[in-house]
Amino acid sequence: MEALNNINPQIPTVILPSVSEVTYEALDPKYRAINIVTTALLFIVIAVALTIFNYFNGIFEERILWFTVVIIWVLGFSVFLYKAIRSYDFMGYALRARDIIFKSGIWFRKVVIVPFNRVQHCEIEQGPIDRYFGLATLSLYTAGGSSSDLSINGLPLETANELKFFITKKIGSVDEEE
C-alpha cells in the first residue's frame, strides 16, 4: 500500500477549496411560478389535443382505452407538477473566484462546474414567458460540446447581466494572464 502511495501520492483535499462546502444561491422565486405555468399549459394542450383527436377519430371509443389514457394523463400531470413545484428548491448556483457551480435535480442530482478559463463565451436568453416575469437564462459555452454547457434559468434579468459582466471580465483577465 505504501508503495502505491509513493507512485500515486494523495493530495490532501483539505487544503483545496471544496465543492461540497459552498453555499448555493437560490434562483428567483418567480421561476417556480413559471415552471408551474408552463407545465400546466403543456398538459392542458395535450388534453385538448387528445379530446379533439378522439372527437374526430373516435379511437378511444372503447371505455377501457379512454380510461387508461386519462389515468396516464393524471399520473403524468401530477409527477410533472410535483417536479415543477419542487425542482426550484433543488436548484442553485454558486459563484467562486475561478469557477461557477450549478446544481439541479430532485431525484437525479447533478452538479456542474465550469472554470472561467474554459468558458468560450456567455449569453443571456429570454423567452416570451421569461420576459413577462422579468427573468432570463444565462448560458456558458465551453469547448466540451453542448452537453457540457451550463445554463442557469430563472435569474432576474439584472442578476443575469451582472453575472455575465463578471464572467466576461474574468474570461478576459484569464486570457491576459497567459
Binding site: 502505491l4 507512485i7 500515486n8 501520492p9 493530495i11 483535499t13 483545496l16 477549496p17 471544496s18 465543492v19 461540497s20 475561478r98 469557477d99 435535480g105 431525484w107 437525479f108 442530482r109 447533478k110 452538479v111 456542474v112 462546474i113 465550469v114 472554470p115 472561467f116 478559463n117 474554459r118 465551453t142 469547448a143 466540451g144 460540446g145 453542448s146 452537453s147 457540457s148 451550463l150 494572464e177 497567459e178
Partner: protein, 506 residues
C-alpha cells in the same frame, strides 16, 4: 524536388490543371444524383425518349465542363504575411481568408485520379468554426509540399513571436512550436502486408456482421418497394427442411463474409500505413484507393485511448485513437484511429504526448463499486420478469428464449465491464481502465478538461455513490459508480488543477 523558395506564394497561384477534371467529376456526380429520377423517367419513356436522353445528357455534360473550366480560372490563392487567401466562386465571387496562426494542420489526400496524375488534394484545417471548406482540389506535388512547409513555418514564427519569452521557460511550448515542423520525422510504425492482414483478421467482426445485416434489411426493403414480394418467394419453398439447413449454412456464410469484409475494409483503409512522429505532431499516411495524409497536432489532441479485443490480444496488437478537439460538435472525423501497434509503440506515443508510458491493469488504483453491476442486473431481471409474464400470456415462448439469451449476454457483458473498469490519477493525468471482453485504456492530462459534472441517482444517494462525467473538447469520459467521497475529492483536485495550470488546452 523544388524547394518552397522556388514558388512565390505572394502572387495569386492557380491549382494544377487536373483540377478541371476533378471539379468536372465532382460536380457531375452531384448533378447526376439529383437528375437521376428525371433521367430514369426519360429512359423509361421508350425509343422516343432515347434521343432526348442523349441530348439532355450532352447538354448537361457540356454545362458541367463549362462550370469546371470557369471554376478553375476563377480559383486562386496566395499567402500574405499572416493570412492565406482563397478566391473562389463561379457566379458569386467568394474570398476566404484564414489567419496562419489559426491553421491547425495541412492535410493531404490522393484519390485514384490524383494518383494517376501525381497531384494532391489539400485541406487546410482551422481552429475556428470550419463551416467553410478550405480545399484545393489539385496541386502538383512540389507545390503542395511547398505550401504546407510555408504555412507551417509562418504559423510557427507567428506563434513564436506571440509567446516570446514564455516559450523559453516552458518546455512544452518549446517542443510544440519552435522546431521547423517540416524537418524531423521519426517513423513509429510502418505496416507490412503481413501485419496488415493480421489487422484485418483481428478486427471487430461484429461490426462487419452488423453491416451485412443492415445491407440485407436495406435490400429486403428495396425489393419490397419495387414490388417483389420476398416473403412470398420464401413461402413457396419447402419451409420445414429448408429452414433447418438454411440457418446453419447462412450463419457460417455470414461469418465468412464478415471476416472477408473486415479484411477488405482494413486493406482499403490501412494499406501501406505509415505512422510518423513529426515535430509537435503526428502524421498518418495510408490508403489503397484514396491515399490520405492526415496530421494531428499535439496541442489539438485532448486524450488518447488504446484498446485490444480478444483477437487482437492473441496477436498482441493495440488500436490507438487520438481524440482531437473539434471546433463545432464532436465528430468521428476528428478522431484518428491507428491499428497494429504494440504496447511499446503506445508507450512511445503516450510519453512523448503526455509524459506517461502505457499502463496495464496493475496500475489500477481505484475500482468502481459492485453496485455498478448489481443495479444493472436488478433492473434487467425486472424487465425479464415482465417479459416472461407477457410471453406466457401471448404464447411467445420461442421469442422468450431468445430474449433470455440476449439478457444473459448483457449481464455477462456488464459483469466483465465491472471487472475491468477502474481508474487512477495523479496530479497531472487521469487514467481510465475499461473494456468488456477486451481491454480499453484512456489517458487524459487533467489540464485539458473543460468542465465536470457530478451526478447521483436516488439509488446512488442511498449508497453514497456518484458518477462523474469529465468533458473535454474531444468528447466526454465517464467514471460511473464511484464513492461519493472520492468523487468529490477528484472534482476538487481536478478543478483546482484546471484553474491553476496555465498551459493552453489547445
Amino acid at each position: 524536388m523544388k524547394k518552397s523558395s522556388d514558388f512565390d506564394f505572394s502572387i495569386p497561384q492557380r491549382q494544377s490543371h487536373i483540377a478541371i477534371l476533378l471539379i468536372l467529376l465532382k460536380r457531375g456526380k452531384v448533378i447526376l444524383q439529383q437528375l437521376l429520377p428525371i433521367l430514369v423517367v426519360i429512359w423509361l419513356g421508350g425509343k422516343q425518349g432515347g434521343l432526348y436522353f442523349v441530348i439532355a445528357f450532352c447538354i448537361f455534360a457540356a454545362l458541367t465542363l463549362v462550370y469546371a473550366i470557369i471554376n478553375f480560372f476563377r480559383t486562386n490563392f496566395y499567402v500574405t504575411d499572416d493570412e492565406i487567401i482563397l478566391n473562389t466562386g463561379v457566379f458569386n465571387r467568394k474570398k476566404l481568408s484564414i489567419r496562419l496562426d489559426k491553421v491547425q494542420t495541412v492535410n493531404f489526400e490522393q484519390t485514384i485520379i490524383h494518383r494517376i496524375f501525381d497531384v494532391y488534394r489539400i485541406n487546410i484545417d482551422t481552429a475556428g468554426s470550419s463551416k467553410d471548406e478550405f480545399v484545393f482540389q489539385a496541386l502538383d506535388i512540389d507545390k503542395a509540399k511547398a505550401i504546407q512547409a510555408l504555412v507551417m513555418q509562418k504559423r510557427g514564427t507567428i506563434k513564436a513571436s506571440d509567446y516570446g519569452i514564455e516559450q523559453a521557460s516552458s518546455e512544452l511550448y518549446n517542443q510544440d512550436e519552435s522546431i521547423d515542423s517540416s524537418t524531423k520525422e521519426v517513423s513509429i510504425l510502418k505496416l507490412s502486408p503481413t501485419q496488415l492482414l493480421k489487422v484485418g483478421l483481428t478486427e471487430n467482426h461484429i461490426h462487419s456482421f452488423g453491416v451485412i445485416i443492415a445491407f440485407f434489411i436495406y435490400w429486403y426493403q428495396n425489393l419490397k418497394d419495387v414490388g417483389i414480394d420476398v416473403d412470398e418467394y420464401s413461402q413457396e419453398l419447402d419451409y420445414q427442411s429448408f429452414m433447418e439447413n438454411f440457418i446453419l449454412v447462412s450463419f457460417i456464410f455470414i461469418i465468412i463474409i464478415a471476416i472477408l469484409i473486415s479484411v477488405i475494409r482494413s486493406v482499403i483503409k490501412y494499406y501501406d500505413l505509415q505512422f510518423l512522429r513529426s515535430a509537435g505532431g503526428f502524421k498518418i499516411i495510408s490508403g489503397l484507393i484514396t491515399k490520405r495524409e492526415v496530421a494531428a497536432q499535439d496541442t489539438k489532441i485532448q486524450y488518447i485511448t488504446w484498446s485490444q479485443n480478444l483477437l487482437q490480444k492473441y496477436v498482441n496488437f493495440f488500436e490507438l485513437t487520438l481524440s482531437q478537439a473539434s471546433s463545432s460538435e464532436v465528430s468521428s472525423k476528428q478522431t484518428i484511429a491507428i491499428p497494429g501497434l504494440t504496447a511499446a509503440n503506445i508507450s512511445v506515443i503516450a510519453s512523448s504526448l503526455f509524459g506517461q508510458t502505457a499502463f496495464a491493469d496493475e496500475d489500477k488504483t481505484h475500482c468502481v463499486d459492485p453496485a455498478y453491476f448489481r443495479r444493472f442486473t436488478q433492473i434487467i431481471i425486472g424487465i425479464l420478469l415482465i417479459a416472461t409474464i407477457f410471453a406466457f400470456y401471448f404464447q411467445l415462448l420461442d421469442q422468450l428464449l431468445i430474449f433470455v439469451l440476449v439478457i444473459g449476454f448483457l449481464v455477462l457483458n456488464r459483469y466483465l465491464k465491472y471487472r475491468n473498469l477502474g481508474y487512477s490519477f495523479d496530479g497531472e493525468r487521469l487514467k481510465i481502465f475499461g473494456g468488456a471482453f477486451g481491454k480499453k485504456y484512456a489517458l487524459l492530462p487533467i489540464y485539458k478538461i473543460q468542465s465536470i459534472a457530478f451526478t447521483n441517482s436516488p439509488y446512488q444517494q442511498r449508497l453514497s455513490l456518484c458518477s462523474l462525467t469529465i468533458y473535454t473538447a474531444a468528447g466526454a469520459l465517464h467514471l460511473p459508480y464511484i464513492s461519493e467521497q472520492i468523487g468529490k475529492n477528484i472534482l476538487d483536485t481536478f478543478i483546482d488543477k484546471v484553474e491553476t495550470d496555465h498551459r493552453k488546452w489547445m
